[in-house]
Symmetry: C2
Subunit: 387 residues, 2 copies
C-alpha cells in the first residue's frame, strides 16, 4: 500500500463540526466537555480494564460498578442494568436469550429497522401491529391483544416477546406503554420497551410503566461516544439473560464475557450527571418542539405524527418545497444546500417533500435561524417578508 493511499486515513476532519445540529440521530449524542476529556484520558485500548478482576461491570476504579449497579437502575427505575454496545445489541440479546427459533415476536409498525433485524438474527417470526396511517401514524396498543390471540389461539404458537418503540424514530410518537404493560402481564408475555430516543432525553421509569425490559442508547440520547447502550430490566430475568458460562464461572454468555471494553463507557459515565439533569427539563424541550412545529405549520408545512407533539423528533411534509425543487438549479438538493449555507446540519441531502428532524440540541435562537431559511425559501409562495 503506497503512502498516498495510507495517508487518506489520518487527519480526517469532521466537516459538520460546530454546525447547528438537527439530525435526529445526532442531536442527543453530542458530547459534554467532561465526556471529551474522558475520551482522551481513557482512549488507549483496554485502559478501563486496568483494575479489572474479571468482569467489566464490577470494576471499582473507574467506578463502573457503582454506575451500572446503582446510578443506571435508579435513573431509569429498573431493578438492574447491564451494559450493551447499543440499543440494537440489547434487543438482540433479549430476543436471543428469551426465545427459541420460530417463536413469535410482536412489534409495532413504527419500530426501528434494528428491531426487525434483531428478530431475524434470533430466528424469530415477526408479527406487526399496524399504525393508524397518515397523518398521525399512531400505534393503538389494544391491537397487540388481538395479535397475541391470533398467534396463540389460532396458530398455537408461542409469543416470546412483545416490543414497543417509545418513541419511534420517524414521527416521535409516544404510544400508551403503561396500557401495553398491562396487556403483557395479562398474557404473561415479556414486554420490551425500546427507549433509544427516550432515556437520556426525557424521564423514564421502567417499573412505573410496568415493562420487563428497556433498551437505551448512549450515542443516541446520552451524550456519549458510540457504541454504548444498556438494558434495564426486572430482576427476575437476570438468570435467563445473563446466565454464566459453564466453563468460566464469572463470564456471562450473552455478552461474551465483557461488552464495552473501551472509551465509550467512560463517556457515558462522564456525561451522566449532565444527562440526568437535562431529563428534568424535558417539559421545556416539549414546549420548544411544539413552538417549532407551529412555526413551520404557519409556513405551510405539515407536521405528521401525534399532535400536540410530545417529543423533539418530528416529521414534516411539504408539497411546496417539493414543487420548488422541481425547477431549482440545485434540484432536490436545494434545501440541504440552503441549510448548510446557514450552518445548519441534519436534513438529509435530496429531501424536500418529507423529512425528519430533532429540535433537541438546538436552542430557540438556532431554530429561529432554521425557520428564517424556510421563510426565505418559501418567500415567493407565502408572501412572507424575507428581509
Amino acid at each position: 500500500m503506497d503512502k498516498d493511499f495510507l495517508d487518506k486515513f489520518t487527519n480526517k476532519k469532521r466537516e459538520t463540526k460546530g454546525m447547528i445540529n438537527i439530525d435526529p440521530l445526532q442531536a442527543g449524542g453530542q458530547l459534554t466537555d467532561e465526556a471529551r476529556q474522558a475520551l482522551v484520558e481513557w482512549g488507549d485500548g483496554f485502559s478501563v480494564c486496568d483494575f479489572c478482576q474479571g468482569k467489566l461491570e464490577e470494576i471499582k476504579k473507574p467506578p463502573i460498578y457503582d454506575f451500572v449497579h446503582q446510578a443506571l437502575p435508579e435513573f431509569i427505575g429498573a431493578d438492574i442494568a447491564h451494559l450493551t454496545h447499543g440499543a440494537r445489541e440489547g434487543k438482540f440479546l433479549i430476543m436471543h436469550a428469551l426465545s427459541q427459533p420460530n417463536d413469535f415476536v410482536i412489534i409495532d409498525k413504527n419500530a426501528h429497522y434494528t428491531t426487525y433485524v434483531a428478530a431475524e438474527r434470533a430466528g424469530l417470526k415477526i408479527k406487526i401491529v399496524e399504525n393508524s396511517g397518515y397523518p398521525e401514524f399512531k400505534i393503538n396498543v389494544d391491537d397487540y391483544e388481538k395479535t397475541i390471540n391470533e398467534i396463540q389461539d389460532e396458530q398455537k404458537r408461542k409469543v416470546a416477546l412483545i416490543v414497543l418503540t417509545y418513541p419511534d424514530g420517524n414521527y416521535g410518537n409516544l404510544p400508551d406503554a403503561k396500557k401495553l404493560a398491562m396487556i403483557a402481564k395479562k398474557y404473561k408475555i415479556p414486554f420490551l420497551l425500546n427507549t433509544a430516543y427516550a432515556v437520556g432525553r426525557m424521564p423514564i421509569n421502567m417499573n412505573e410503566i410496568g415493562a420487563d425490559f428497556i433498551v437505551a442508547s448512549g450515542h443516541k440520547s446520552m451524550a456519549s461516544s458510540g457504541p454504548i447502550g444498556f438494558i434495564g430490566m426486572k430482576k427476575e430475568w437476570e438468570e435467563i439473560l445473563f446466565k454464566k458460562s459453564q466453563y468460566f464461572k464469572k463470564k456471562e454468555v450473552e455478552i461474551l464475557g465483557c461488552v464495552s471494553r473501551g472509551t465509550a463507557i467512560m463517556t457515558l459515565m462522564a456525561s451522566f450527571p449532565f444527562v440526568a439533569q437535562r431529563t428534568k427539563e424535558w417539559s421545556k424541550q416539549v414546549e420548544k418542539a411544539q413552538w417549532f412545529s407551529e412555526q413551520l405549520e404557519n409556513l405551510g408545512l405539515k407536521q405528521l405524527g401525534e399532535k400536540p407533539h410530545k417529543h423533539d423528533l418530528m416529521f414534516f411534509e411539504s408539497d411546496k418545497l417539493y414543487e420548488i425543487s422541481k425547477t431549482h438549479k440545485d434540484g432536490a438538493f436545494f434545501l440541504y444546500k440552503e441549510l448548510k449555507k446557514n450552518n445548519i446540519w441534519g436534513i438529509k441531502p435530496g429531501l424536500t417533500k418529507n423529512f425528519k428532524l430533532s429540535t433537541f440540541a438546538a436552542n430557540k435562537e438556532n431554530l429561529e435561524k432554521f425557520i428564517k431559511v424556510f421563510m426565505n425559501v418559501l418567500g415567493a409562495d407565502t408572501g412572507t417578508d424575507t428581509k
Copy 2:
C-alpha cells in the same frame, strides 16, 4: 441522586497513564497521536454517520469504504473484510451464522475464554484439542484430525467449525496454522484463525495460511480505542455470514445493520498507516522478546511456552519470587508494588509465581528497567550486583 454521588463519574484520571506498559491486554492497543486526534474530532455520537447512505461500511467520507473494502483485506491477505465490535463478537458472528445448535466446534486448549463463550452463545458443543502440557503447552494440529474423525465417524455429528488461536494469550505460542488449514480443507470444514494478538503486531496473510476466516482486534493489537475489530474471510462465505434482511434490503442481519457507529473505527483508521508499518518490523519484536526471555531466565525465572519464543506475549514462572512473597511485608503484592514504584505497569497485583507479560510496547531501555527491578528483588538469591 445527590451531587456527591454524581460527581464521582466525572473527571476520572487514569492512574497508570504514561507508565511503562507490559500488560498483554494493553501493549498493542496504545493509541497513536493520529488516533487521539480522531477520538476528539469524531467523538460525538453517530458523527461518522454524517454522510451515510444506509450502510456504515459504504461511507465514503470519512473513507470507511476504502478502508474496509481495500486496506483491510489487502493488509491481512483476505478476500474481504467486515467490521465487528471486536474479535469475540467476530467469533460469535461466524459461529452463529455457520452452525445449527448442537453442531460441534473444535477449539484448541489454549483458546481465549471468549472462544468458549461465543460457542456457548451459539449453542454449539465444544470439543477441545489438548496442548502438550508443561512447560511448552504446544498445540499439535494433527490432533484436530483425530478429533474430527471421532465426532464425525463415531458420533455421527457435524463439525461446523474448527478454531485455532494464533497466538494464544497466555504463552504466545504460534501453532502450525498452515498445516491445520490443509486438514480443514481435507474434511471440508471451515477454519477460523483467532489472530487478536497477531494482526497489527506481526505480518499475517490469511489466504497464504489457507484459513477461511480470521478475527482481529483493534483495541488489542491495532493501536485503537475499543470496542473495534474485524473479520477477514474468503469471498465464498459472504452470503452466509452477511446475508441481507428480508425486510431492509441493505441491512445485514448478523451485524444488526451497522456495527461500529462511533469513534473506535476512526481510531482504527487513523492508526492504520502506523500499524501497517510496525508489522514490517516484527523480526525486531521477536528479537527483543527472545533477548528479554534470556535475561529473565539468567535471573532464575523460567519462560513457559514455545522456545525459542516467536512472540511478544510470554509467560514466566518463578519459584523464587513466590518464596520471597511468603515472608515479604507486602506479601503476594510485593512484586506488583515494586514494579509500580519503578513506573512499570502490567503484572497483575498478587502474582509472583506465574505471570504473563508483553514486551511489545516497551523498548529495550524500558525492559532493562524491568530487569533491574527483578535483579534487585532477587538480589539476595542470585548474588547479582544490584547497584
